[in-house]
């Protein structure tokens, strides 16, 4: 717990000597295995302790096995952007309240700023970079272009991923479904009308399966 005087504009330094010493003391007499990973015996079972320094993280991103050396505190968003050169997901609020960093994990939209990279291992991560193929835009991307669904464009990659995830689960949405289904993304330019129109267009462009209406 930080003291009550710690203000965000005056944060503690990354590591205090006291916390470092305290941290090392608690994993004392434990053999170092490799790459920042220790093994401790807990309740009779071997449990791996990662970090606090850099460890190897293996991620399944857009169908490819990728790896990076990051500290356990590193978010999936920062790993994508800083280590894996996937800068489509944007860092805006960095507090899980704007949606600009939206990626899919196991087909569900998540805020990549609020997921630790180490915690995303073994999951299927999909980023906006995977949507277009051979220069052809994904129907959701094309619909954003056709409907002027961006102004400054900074929220757009996150919106596109949220819209894709929404349409994958709601192939035939009503206008009310669309409005509610995009409740996890903000656009400060206020281009929501265009985004809603883009989702409606992309829904129509999808191959219809059985013609079932949701809602």
């Amino acid at each position: 717990m930080s003291s009550s005087g710690d203000m965000p504009d005056k944060p503690n330094s990354g590591v205090s000597r006291r916390n470092f010493l305290r941290g090392t003391g608690l994993v004392l007499s434990v053999p170092l295995v490799a790459g920042g990973v220790n093994v401790v015996t807990v309740e009779g079972a071997a449990v791996q302790v990662y970090g606090p320094d850099k460890v190897q993280v293996s991620l399944n991103i857009n169908g490819q096995a990728r790896s990076a050396e990051v500290e356990p505190r590193t978010t999936l968003l920062d790993t994508l952007r800083n280590d894996l050169d996937l800068t489509g997901a944007k860092r805006v609020c960095d507090r899980g309240t704007c949606g600009a960093c939206t990626v899919l994990i196991d087909d569900k939209p998540v805020y990549a700023c609020s997921v630790l990279a180490i915690d995303a291992q073994g999951r299927r991560i999909t980023t906006v970079e995977s949507l277009s193929s051979n220069g052809n835009l994904h129907p959701v991307q094309q619909a954003f272009v056709d409907n002027d669904a961006q102004q400054c464009g900074f929220c757009t990659p996150g919106f596109v991923m949220a819209c894709k995830a929404f349409l994958d689960r709601n192939p035939n949405p009503t206008a009310a479904d669309i409005e509610r289904g995009l409740g996890g993304n903000l656009c400060r330019c206020g281009t929501y009308v265009g985004v809603r129109a883009a989702v409606a267009q992309a829904a129509k462009a999808r191959p219809q399966r059985g013609g079932r209406r949701n809602g």
């Binding site: 710690d6 205090s16 807990v42 791996q48 960095d94 899980g96 609020s114 630790l116 915690d119 996890g184």
Partner: protein, 325 residues
């Protein structure tokens, strides 16, 4: 964010053994939607983070004749997509549905909802749970308190409990399952939350080395229930006031009632006076309004949040009518 070591146990026994003796030394990670922000802002600076998502026993939503079991790791999506929850526990379903962000619903968990820290902007800016300046002066009473408590702030805690589920769980007489070094125990949802007396304390009845494992909701047994939230924005925000109601009707009259308010006090607020006002009466616009009046009779709004008193009355009245309807 301060550096930490990360460990992902596979049993609750391991998890508990990896926790610390003092709050903030080790933090528990589930969905991460609150913890990562708290760590980025140095509100908490743990030396170790224990990820619970490797513990399969903490997952799942299960409904049976004996009631509903929500695993601590069940996501809001898991709860929302469960048809038995929607049919039998509309108070829970509506509270979860009110979290409109699909991202938060995909990530956020039942246990995390109960243990998330207050949204008070003084707390989030580093002034501590009780929001005092360096001279010990409380900042909230004459500060920007538009979203703060209107009830239960005698203790000096002015934040509001942020849980979406808690009022519904209290109305439905749920129990919270807890596991720690001494084994498993259950706490009534109505007793789980507390107003902290100091900045080193937490807002819930856990020890630093205990975790929430599950929520157990009794079989509805004819309890009609509902939640009503009053919101400024439909998305990406917490309600300004909410109420959850569970009613047992005997003929046309209310035989028993449990009513809890959210976002009005440092704890989810059980409104005993509103329950008493309703029992023995038929639910009408008038009796619901009278119960709502009783629920807020003791309200002590701060300098900038008197408007919340009326919003809370509306939430109570509409939740009663929705439950009875």
């Amino acid at each position: 964010m301060q550096k930490f070591e990360y460990v992902s146990p596979t049993t609750k026994e391991q998890a508990v053994a990896l926790l610390g003796e003092n709050w903030g030394d080790v933090e528990v990670l589930a969905g991460g939607t609150d913890l990562l922000s708290l760590m980025k802002d140095y509100i908490t600076t743990p030396r170790r983070v224990v990820n619970l998502k490797g513990i399969a026993a903490l997952s799942g939503v299960r409904y049976s004749a004996s009631g509903l079991r929500l695993g601590a790791l069940a996501t809001f999506d898991d709860v929302l997509s469960n048809t038995a929850v929607r049919r039998n526990y509309p108070a829970i379903w509506a509270a979860v549905e009110g979290v409109t962000s699909p991202q938060i619903r995909a990530m956020g968990t039942v246990g995390g909802d109960l243990c998330q820290r207050p949204r008070c902007w003084y707390y989030r800016a580093g002034y501590g749970l009780l929001a005092k300046d360096e001279t010990g002066h409380a900042l909230v009473p004459d500060g920007d308190n538009r979203y703060h408590a209107i009830l239960g702030h005698n203790s000096g805690a002015y934040f509001v409990n942020p849980s979406s589920l808690a009022p519904a769980l209290i109305a439905l007489a749920a129990k919270i399952g807890v596991y720690g070094p001494k084994g498993a125990r259950q706490v009534d949802a109505a007793e789980f939350f507390r107003a902290p007396g100091g900045d080193g304390e937490r807002e819930y009845q856990l020890s630093p080395n205990e975790i929430v494992t599950e929520v157990l909701v009794p079989a509805p047994g004819g309890m009609k229930n509902a939640t009503y939230e009053v919101r400024q924005r439909e998305a990406l925000d917490w309600p300004l006031a909410s109420a959850s109601v569970a009613l047992k009707l005997t003929g046309r009259n209310v035989g028993a009632a449990r009513i809890a308010l959210g976002h009005v006090a440092p704890v989810p607020w059980r409104a005993g006076a509103a329950e008493s006002a309703l029992v023995g009466k038929a639910v009408t616009e008038q009796t619901a309004a009278a119960a709502a009046e009783a629920a807020l009779a003791d309200a002590k709004p701060l300098s900038r949040n008197a408007y919340k008193v009326q919003l809370a009355r509306v939430a109570v009245k509409r939740a009663i009518l929705a439950a009875a309807g």
